[in-house]
Amino acid sequence: MVLNGLLKEKRAVLVERWREALFESYPLETRQFFRKEKDRFQNPVAHRLSRGIEGLYGALLQETEEEELKGYLDEIIRVKAVQDFSPSQALAFIFLLKGLIREELAAELCDEELGRQCLEFESHIDGLALLGFEVYMQCREKLSEIRIDEVKRRVSGLLRKAGLGMELE
């Protein structure tokens, strides 16, 4: 588990760079605001994205339940799912971690054993991306679902009156 140790060591740098890479998808004006504003209430998007990135990185380094991973993915993808991002754009950030690790650990990865471990770790990232698709879909489905719910709720009084309310719920 040498790679794991290295990744833990480089945690601060890699998390920071990964977050930066994620922020890259926003306009320049916004990016600066995301970086500068530390208030979690005045800057909810950046707060949520950072939380997700940190959680994901930590989770990747250890045995983590699928649900927990999805939770961290959700922090990021739920935001992106309602902003102007296509699915590929919304999920691309996951793959960026591969490149960042290769860059950060370029020297160490010449070692054959480490290289092999790295490939293994990268397939973990691929797995994470697959989970990401599920989360993205869940968010989009949630949107359709709440859209329908909202329309229903608009006349729910009437439905309730007609004795249909319970069935619909």
Binding site: V82, S88, G99, I146, R153
Partner: protein
């Protein structure tokens, strides 16, 4: 090798290229982020100009040939009529204090959602046609021509402003984006550009009963049904009268409270309270809509809808008017109504028939907010309340933008909450997200259409984020509010961002807590949910039987 974009390229896709200036970027109308164009019939119903079939994503919006002259003449006219517009156009120093105060900017990250820039979209045209420097120097003076693209941009961004006035609070000159948004939307209306969701509501409200466009008898049926529901749960059947002449008080609530959950439960709360007091009140099928979507598109349309209040009060011969829990209704009532139609000499200064309190602060307006009314009752000890019936709630309170920044009603609802909830069940959200600094629900000012869902989720995110904080930290499970639009849209917002949060009006809680002398033993709240203690007891009984 196959030509596929790399992840890096994908994240770097500049969905709004920042390298260009704001003058050169155009909005992209994707489903989910624009509001539908109205069908012509609504415009015809209220006599609005240029009713026609058109569609937002189309290149051609079928504008009238002289649209530019109309807009500019309209702008000139409004500059003459509103000092606010002139002043707000002239004195902005672009200090940026407002930039990060807009919930749409915070949630979407679109720089044009900074209020200063949203205003600049209008201001740049003002400079080009009404200021010498702009006429002579053009772009360098921050001026630009009025083109169809500019018009489309106005449409896109003026409907991404919910007129919540949070920016105005932080502006050193009090520049009010809401004012400019309304006037901008008026200009758009003058060439027939408005939205289905608002125009349908306005036209329906104009000729029928409320935004939903019900008939008077359907409206009566609905409220009678609430009364029956009250009886089923509490054993008390509230007596409701409609259009009754000679009643002391006319009660007007927003339509959200009588058609859409969870507002309906708030309405049941109103009915129970009035029954408890034996209040001499009536409900009108004519002035049946407290909300006012007209105000969202023009000052005049706001007045046309609002006119029904005093007209009906006069016809019925009531003494004063009581208003329900609603946000923009109270903005209109507080800041516009007396100016539009007043003074209402045919009414009397409101006086609570129960406590004798004279509402001096409403002496010209003759209309009282139900939270003021109820808080006064509680203060005088006129209500017997059992807070334990709300023990299944852990509540946080969302101040609605309109009642916060255009009225200042903060203490009344909190006072009621403290008396209808058991101690320790009320939690405030962080201070920079409540009271005058409250975040908008993201769907105010008539943009709560379902086709606009994605955009609304962005706009409501800052609010949801603060709710999530108290949800995670204290296990808060209910979000209280005194606004019908809040009650309509916050359930949706919460379902996406903070699953597990329910939305409730304050008078629903009052209805739960009110103890009638002759009521049946209550086992559920107004929503048919088991009360704390009751459900468990039943379970225990059930288990005993099983044994």
């Amino acid at each position: 090798m196959a030509k596929v974009p790399t992840p890096k390229e994908l994240t770097r896709i500049n969905y709004r290229p920042p390298a260009k200036s704001w003058m050169d970027t155009k909005p992209e109308f994707r489903p989910g982020v624009y509001l539908n164009a109205p069908s012509p019939k609504w415009l015809e119903m209220i006599g609005y100009p240029y009713p026609r079939k058109w569609s937002v994503p189309d290149e051609d919006w079928h504008l009238p040939p002289d649209w530019k002259e109309i807009i500019l003449a309209g702008m000139e006219d409004r500059l003459k009529r509103f000092r606010t517009l002139k002043l707000f156009f002239d004195i902005c120093v672009r200090c940026g204090a407002c930039a990060d105060k807009c919930h749409y900017f915070l949630g979407s990250g679109d720089p044009k959602n900074m209020p200063v820039l949203r205003a600049e979209l209008l201001r740049s045209v003002y400079r080009r046609y009404f200021k010498t420097a702009g006429k002579l120097l053009g772009e360098v003076a921050g001026a630009r021509d009025l083109t169809e693209d500019v018009l489309k941009e106005w449409f896109f961004y003026l409907y991404q402003c919910t007129e919540c006035r949070r920016c105005s609070l932080f502006c050193p000159y009090g520049i009010d984006m809401a004012e400019m948004t309304i006037l901008g939307r008026e200009l758009l209306s003058s060439v027939g550009i408005n939205i289905e969701w608002v125009m349908a509501s306005v036209a329906s409200c104009y000729e029928k009963v409320g935004h939903i466009g019900a008939t008077p008898h359907a409206y009566k049926d609905m409220i009678d049904f609430f009364a029956e529901e009250c009886e089923r749960i509490t054993g008390i059947l509230p007596e409701v009268t409609y259009n009754r002449k000679g009643a002391e008080i006319l009660f007007i609530a927003p339509s959200g409270d009588y058609f859409a959950d969870p507002g309906t439960y708030t309405y049941m709360g109103y009915l129970l309270l009035f029954q408890y007091l034996g209040l001499d009140y009536t409900i009108s099928t004519y002035a049946a809509e407290g909300g006012n979507f007209g105000y969202f598109i023009s000052h005049e349309m706001g007045k046309r809808l609002n006119a029904k209040f005093y007209e009906e009060a006069k016809r019925l011969g009531v003494k004063w008017i009581l208003g329900g829990e609603c946000g923009h209704m109270w903005r209109v009532c507080n800041q516009y109504m007396t100016t539009w139609h007043g003074p209402a000499t045919f009414l009397e200064v409101p006086k609570s028939p129960i406590t004798g309190t004279v509402f001096e602060h409403a002496r010209e307006h003759k209309m009282v907010h139900i939270c003021e009314f109820t808080a006064d009752l509680i203060h005088h000890g006129k209500l017997k309340l059992d807070p334990q019936r709300n023990a299944h709630l852990k509540l946080t309170f969302h101040d609605s933008c309109n009642t916060s920044r255009a009225m200042g009603i903060f203490e009344e609802p909190r006072y009621i909450i403290r008396h209808v909830l058991p101690e320790g069940h009320f939690f405030e959200m962080p201070p920079n997200t409540i009271r005058e600094k409250t975040f908008c629900c993201g769907s105010g000012s008539g943009v709560n259409a379902d086709e606009y869902l994605e955009m609304r989720m962005r706009g409501g995110f800052p609010r949801a984020n603060a709710v999530r904080y108290v949800h995670d930290k204290y296990g808060v499970n209910h979000l209280g509010c005194i606004c019908a639009i809040d009650r309509a849209v916050l359930p949706t917002l919460m379902a996406y961002w903070v699953p597990g949060m329910e939305i409730t009006g304050i008078h629903e809680l009052v209805g739960n807590a009110l103890v009638f002398d002759d009521e049946i033993e209550r086992t559920t709240d107004l929503r048919d949910r088991d009360l704390v203690g009751v459900g468990k007891a039943e379970e225990a009984e059930g288990e005993a039987e099983d044994e």
